[in-house]
């Protein structure tokens, strides 16, 4: 599903920062992969490249035969809408929209009929355990609930890959477990490919494989998959 070859990202400034120095790995369809490492290891940077939120300065990567490097900004936006789901650390819900509206907004932008996207949004909210909170606004939800809404939103367009950037960082232990269990459930039952950045060692229990990052390079990969460093 994802093939990364020698991916690099340098932030140019007064002092150039080599956030990624040449990373290579694969992610198979249906895998639940965690990207872990210390602060500054490049894990979030890597996620941003794969999620088409940022543009690498070197190397290449493919998402299902689509070259992520060659996409224009407009094509990237379209690709994200059609094929990727993104869950942020701080939920990132739109405060003026209620729960169900937050979930179906990307489907509306995709041009799907309103009956269809409203039905799907309701189903996803049921799946994440928030079927009875559809009319509530983000301010009326707990952190864990908001994150579950964010997950439902990320799933509305049946993404090929779900990217999660430290999804439990702002949650307490109980809420974290609920969210991680949900990811696991999606992965097992719906064969959803999930790539998650986390720095919590306890999260390893939920994933199939861990890619450890260190100083902009893949340090090791546990649970299978070749380790490639340049």
């Amino acid at each position: 599903m994802i093939k990364v070859v020698n991916l690099a990202r340098t932030y140019f400034g007064k002092v150039p920062t080599l956030a990624l120095k040449g990373v290579s790995f694969d992610v198979a369809e249906g895998e639940f992969v965690a990207i872990m490492g210390r602060s500054g290891s490049g894990k979030s940077t890597l996620l941003h490249q794969l999620g088409l939120i940022d543009t690498p300065t070197g190397g290449s990567f493919l998402i299902d035969d689509t070259d992520g490097i060659k996409l224009s900004d407009i094509e990237k936006t379209k690709f994200r809408l059609n094929y990727l789901g993104y869950v942020f650390q701080d939920y990132a819900l739109i405060t003026e929209l209620n729960t169900i509206e937050n979930v179906y907004l990307p489907a509306m932008a995709l041009g799907i009929g309103s009956k269809i996207y409203k039905k799907r949004a309701a189903e996803l909210l049921d799946l994440v355990g928030l079927g009875d909170r559809m009319e509530h606004y983000p301010v009326e939800l707990s952190g864990g609930e908001q994150q579950r809404v964010a997950i439902a939103r990320a799933l509305i367009n049946n993404p090929k890959i779900l990217f999660a950037d430290e999804p439990t960082a702002n949650l307490d232990t109980a809420s974290s477990e609920v969210v991680l269990s949900l990811f696991k459930k999606l992965n097992v039952e719906l064969k959803q490919t999930v790539v998650m950045v986390t720095h919590e060692p306890d999260d390893i229990a939920y994933v199939d494989r861990v890619i450890w990052m260190r100083d902009g390079l893949v340090d090791r990969i546990e649970g299978g998959g070749p380790l490639k460093n340049d």
Partner: protein
């Protein structure tokens, strides 16, 4: 492919409307009310000033036509040499009145003189220089608002009055209108001496005193008396013509008269606005500046509100882009909000102008020139449409520019700074 593009455009617009509507309805109510109030007042101010200037222009023209020159003035030939009179005026007028759309004509003898009056009968005369107009009273009524309708005291002239005179209240003296030089209080029945510029001196009885605000202190005698003074017959210094505007244009009538009498000088009312016209041009220019300022105030207000809103939601905009909402949708959402505020402002402003100010001025007129010209707000369809369009364009730009400035930010910078 075209169907796809149209379908994409529709769904993008739908999403923009959705985001905009939610932002408006769930946003800060006080900000919304304040913004709409500012826009409404800006629009009202712009339309009011524009309407008043148009009203002044319109009222001045109406007054000039009513009291001074009607729709058209015909003067004696100037080529090949300047003549003093139009001869055979009765025939000339009869022919002009055959032109379809011509309502009526009247002739004037225009001369000048000095009127003197000794109020105290002690040999101390007060004198006033004045234009003296000889009129046919019956014909005059058909073309202009005559002194008979403006009388403060006494009666209007009859056709055979050769020893009677009508003077203006400013010249008479002692009325509300004060001028530097007057006759010291001439009244109906008083005898005044009129010395014409050709040296002829006559004594007249004041038959009436009229409100002369619009007639610039003209003195009126009958055409019969004027002919006696000027030693002419069946002539005119000018012929004023009243026309029906529904039948032909001003220039159309001028052309028709010129066809009949190519030697005569034919002019529309515009030639007689004189200094007033220059003043109105200056006021129009001022109106343009003030209108531009109103539009600028409205645009800047929208710009600031949208910009602050967008900046405060910079992170949210970054997130929307990250989840796949394209930049165009986000920018259009802000433009729609700007349009909403603008249209609300225009609606309320229009109600204030057309539902409150205009009817109020009709019910309780504010006099610009007492008993003659009232303050009016006058609009043409073009002016109203242009006013609304200016505001809408300003609203669009004021919404688009800040939205574009914020929405084009890099996603990472927008979300994480």
């Amino acid at each position: 492919m075209i169907r796809n593009s149209i379908s994409n455009a529709i769904s993008d617009l739908k999403t923009s409307f959705f985001i905009a509507w939610k932002s408006i309805t769930r946003g800060n109510r006080s900000t919304l009310i304040l913004l709409v109030a500012v826009l409404a007042l800006s629009f009202t101010e712009m339309m009011f000033i524009s309407g008043v200037v148009s009203g002044m222009h319109y009222s001045t023209i109406v007054a000039a036509k009513k009291y001074l020159c009607s729709d058209m003035v015909i003067s004696p030939p100037e080529e090949p040499q300047v003549k003093e009179f139009i001869t055979s005026q009765a025939k000339v007028r009869a022919q002009i009145e055959t032109i379809p759309g011509v309502v009526a004509t009247a002739r004037h003898y225009a001369t000048a003189g000095s009127v003197s009056f000794d109020k105290e009968k002690n040999g101390k005369f007060k004198s006033v220089s004045a234009a003296v107009i000889g009129i046919d009273p019956e014909n005059e009524k058909r073309v202009l608002v005559t002194t008979s309708q403006l009388m403060l005291e006494g009666e209007s002239l009859a056709a055979d009055d050769t020893d009677q005179i009508i003077i203006g209240s400013a010249a008479a003296g002692g009325y509300q209108v004060k001028v530097a030089n007057d006759l010291g209080g001439a009244r109906v029945g008083d005898k005044v001496r009129l010395t014409y510029t050709n040296g002829v001196m006559r004594e007249y009885t004041v038959k009436g005193v009229y409100d002369d605000t619009m007639r610039s202190s003209q003195i009126f005698i009958t055409a019969k008396e004027a002919e006696s003074v000027l030693s002419v017959y069946d002539s005119a210094t000018q012929i004023v013509v009243k026309t029906d505007p529904n039948f032909n244009t001003s220039s159309g009538y001028i052309m028709k008269v010129k066809d009949l009498f190519p030697d005569l000088k034919v002019q529309g009312y515009e030639a007689y606005l004189g200094m007033l016209d220059s003043m109105l041009q200056a006021v129009n220019f001022l109106n343009m500046i003030l209108s531009s300022i109103s539009i600028l105030v409205a645009a800047i207000t929208i710009f600031v509100i949208i910009y602050v809103n967008a900046i405060s939601k910079c992170r949210q905009i970054g997130i929307l882009k990250a989840i796949g909402i394209n930049q165009k949708i986000i920018i259009n959402a802000y433009i729609i909000q700007a349009f909403f505020y603008t249209l609300c402002g225009i609606s309320i402003g229009s109600w204030l102008i057309f539902g409150v100010v205009q009817p109020s001025l009709e019910i309780h007129p504010v006099a610009m020139v007492p008993n003659m010209i009232n303050l009016a707000v006058v609009y043409t369809t073009a002016k109203v449409v242009w006013g609304i369009l200016s505001f809408v364009i300003a609203g669009y730009l004021a919404g688009w520019i800040p939205a574009w400035m914020v929405a084009r930010k890099d996603i990472l910078k927008a979300i994480w700074g």
